[in-house]
């Protein structure tokens, strides 16, 4: 734990170089928060290095090797780091704890701060494992912590920062959320200070550049407060301070970041606006964006939209500005499940109209659907199947297996009512290691297998809808013995993938080189 002194040891009198922070994240190369923190520190003259410890493609999350941990420790040693930050999600708690342990064993005097959504949701348990925990938005808090450590000032009264001083816990309320997001720097995406560790080796690179997509956030927060989502954690943490929870950057600030990106990401071909909800902004904001984006950036973009607020006229304008693909959350086709379990406004009518508008415009659409909800009734699952069947094709689905993350409204409610086994909460559980991307071979009840099969079939344009409706009519039979339907859905996935492969082949893109490159599936984890 941190030094017994309430104030830290001053380092400014002896240092001949800037304060240096090594930030680490595990299985999360897409982590934007750590890049924002890094950039905010750099703006204050504090040096940073970011370590990305492994990436994943499918559900293959295993503990990093000794050698990989040692590489991470070497980064701390080579930079003579003054502070180490570890950011992680709940499911990765065992790995973060192991990393923390190894850092403290190797460098007992270097303070370690944990941040990210897991420490934010469970600071009481996290603070017993480490020196500091950052709760909530971290940019300003970490700057203050670094300056306090550097200058030997109080480290026990910094808003957002919980401190463990020789076992004595100092808890501090979070400061209000950043209201003007234009204060934020652009995320740190330089190559030189990034260390990407994979397969017992490392490279010096910004892993975001390993794709043609640039992910950007126009806003923070979300108008919704879905019970299963991290947003419900943050709304709880911020309470009244989070009243103005959903905040947008100015158009100029966003375009500035994108112009910087175009200079530094040579191969970017599209932009993904990765807000939980995009474009729920005012009319003036929208008009300014629609006018400036095509001229100054001009790249195709994708985003998540809310059907109840999105109208064809605006969709047409967005398409003209470059929108090529839309993602939207259905989650459940059941109004009861949406309202009573997910705390979402029922929106099937709006989603259907939205889908028809997208179909007319030829927009590529993908819907989010949540499965594996142990409290969903069969009627709810049936309503979802019927709604998916009614949606205009073609469309894709992102399936999400319901996980209980600590601190979400859903988890809190389940624990309070005694309907949720605490061992099923991520952190104690690690289901997300295996179902980050839903797979067909995860153990499910016969009923869940049957309905997942129906959802899969419903989204395949080549499977006749009448056939699926017949399966629904005969559901009492198939639920008892779902394997034929389940394997049919699996076969439909094969057929779709085979079709994709043949399309590549026809276009001359399926070369032996490509097959060889991708053939060894373990190589797909990091290429």
């Amino acid at each position: 734990m941190a030094t017994a002194e309430v104030t830290s040891t001053p380092t400014n009198g002896t240092r001949t170089r800037p304060f240096h922070v090594v930030l680490m994240t595990i299985y999360s190369v897409e982590n934007a928060g750590i890049r924002y923190v890094s950039a905010a520190l750099q703006r204050e003259g504090i040096e940073t290095t970011i370590v990305f410890l492994r990436d994943w493609v499918h559900n293959r999350l295993t503990m990093p090797s000794d050698n990989e941990f040692d590489i991470a420790l070497d980064v701390i040693r080579q930079n003579d780091a003054d502070l180490v930050g570890i950011g992680f999600m709940s499911s990765l708690l065992p790995m973060a704890t192991e990393l923390n342990h190894r850092v403290k064993m190797a460098f007992p005097d270097k303070p370690v701060v944990w941040g990210g959504i897991h420490p934010t949701s469970t600071p009481e348990t996290c603070i017993t494992e480490t020196d500091f925990v950052c709760v909530g938005e971290g940019e300003i808090a970490i700057i203050e912590l670094c300056k306090a450590v550097r200058d030997g000032e109080q480290v026990t009264e910094i808003p957002n920062i919980w401190a463990n001083i020789d076992g004595e816990i100092h808890r501090n309320e979070p400061r209000p959320l950043i209201q003007n997001l234009d204060w934020l720097p652009y995320p740190d995406t330089a190559d030189e200070n990034k260390v990407y560790i994979e397969k017992d080796a490392f490279t010096i690179e910004e892993p975001w550049k390993r794709g043609a997509e640039y992910r950007i956030y126009f806003s923070r927060g979300c108008p919704y407060n879905c019970s299963y989502c991290y947003v419900s954690i943050l709304r709880d943490v911020y309470d009244e301070k989070g009243k103005q929870f959903y905040r947008a950057r100015s158009v100029e600030h966003i375009l500035g970041e994108l112009e910087h990106m175009q200079r530094t990401f040579p191969k970017v071909a599209r932009v993904k606006i990765d807000d939980d909800t995009s474009f729920a902004f005012g009319e003036d904001w929208m008009e300014e964006f629609l006018e400036k984006y095509p001229n100054r950036i001009g790249l195709p973009f994708e985003c998540l939209l809310i059907p109840p607020m999105m109208r064809p006229n605006m969709l047409i304008k967005l398409q003209a500005a470059g929108l090529v693909r839309v993602q939207t959350g259905i989650e459940s086709g059941s109004a009861k499940e949406s309202k009573e379990m997910h705390n979402r406004s029922p929106g099937n009518t709006a989603i259907m109209k939205f889908a028809e508008a997208n179909k007319t415009m030829g927009m590529n659409v993908v819907y989010d659907v949540i499965i594996d909800n142990p409290h969903a009734t069969e009627e709810m699952k049936l309503e979802t199947a019927e709604f998916l069947l009614d949606l205009p094709r073609p469309y894709d689905i992102y399936f999400y297996s319901l996980n209980y993350f600590p601190g979400t409204a859903l988890t809190r409610q389940g624990l309070e009512e005694g309907t949720l086994d605490p061992n099923l909460v991520e952190g104690a559980n690690n289901k997300a290691w295996y179902q980050f991307r839903v797979s067909m071979d995860w153990p499910r009840s016969n009923e869940d297998k049957f309905y997942l099969a129906l959802y899969c079939l419903a989204s395949k344009s080549f499977v006749p809808r009448d056939f699926i409706r017949k399966l629904i009519d005969q559901r009492e039979t198939w639920k008892k013995n779902p394997e034929p339907v389940y394997y049919l859905a699996w076969a439909a996935n094969y057929a779709k993938m085979f079709y994709v492969a043949m399309r590549y082949f026809k276009n001359g893109e399926l070369t032996w080189f490509k097959v060889r490159q991708y053939g060894n599936i373990t190589q797909m984890i990091s290429q």
Binding site: A39, V57, N180, Q244, Y246, K272, F279, V366, Y494
Partner: protein
């Protein structure tokens, strides 16, 4: 390399391709967008080019770092080109006043929306005004 080895090599690659197909078919939905790099069924040509260029640039950068001074700390990056600290806005002042979330988000009022589809959003539908 003999004919037998070539046939064997091609069969192995084919088996690898089939393994990739099997693995992808096991997953009923799309991968998340940021997970398509390296996935033969979703990665576009632009993604592939970006990945290959990033990989080779990273290899060169890493080798140069190792050859130059393996025990020295890495070069500091250029700070992100954001406004200088003195020109920054006050992070605590919300631009555009202090309306609460709920004021702006009429679509969260718990009802399904069936009208106003000829309007340009995000204006409130007539029925709600």
């Amino acid at each position: 390399m003999g004919l037998r080895d070539r046939i064997k090599g091609r069969l192995n690659r084919l088996r690898g391709g089939i393994d990739a197909l099997k693995d992808e078919a096991k997953h009923p939905g799309r991968p998340a967008d940021h997970r398509i790099a390296g996935n033969p069924f979703y990665e576009s040509e632009a993604d592939r080019q970006a990945r290959e260029e990033a990989s080779s640039a990273a290899a060169v950068r890493t080798a140069e770092r190792a050859a130059a001074a393996p025990s020295q700390p890495p070069t500091d990056p250029e700070p992100s080109p954001s406004p200088v600290t003195s020109a920054l806005p006050d992070p605590n002042v919300r631009p555009g006043g202090d309306a609460t979330d709920q004021d702006a988000f009429w679509f969260l009022d718990g009802t399904d929306v069936d009208d106003g589809w000829d309007q340009t959003n995000p204006s409130k539908p007539d029925a709600e005004e």
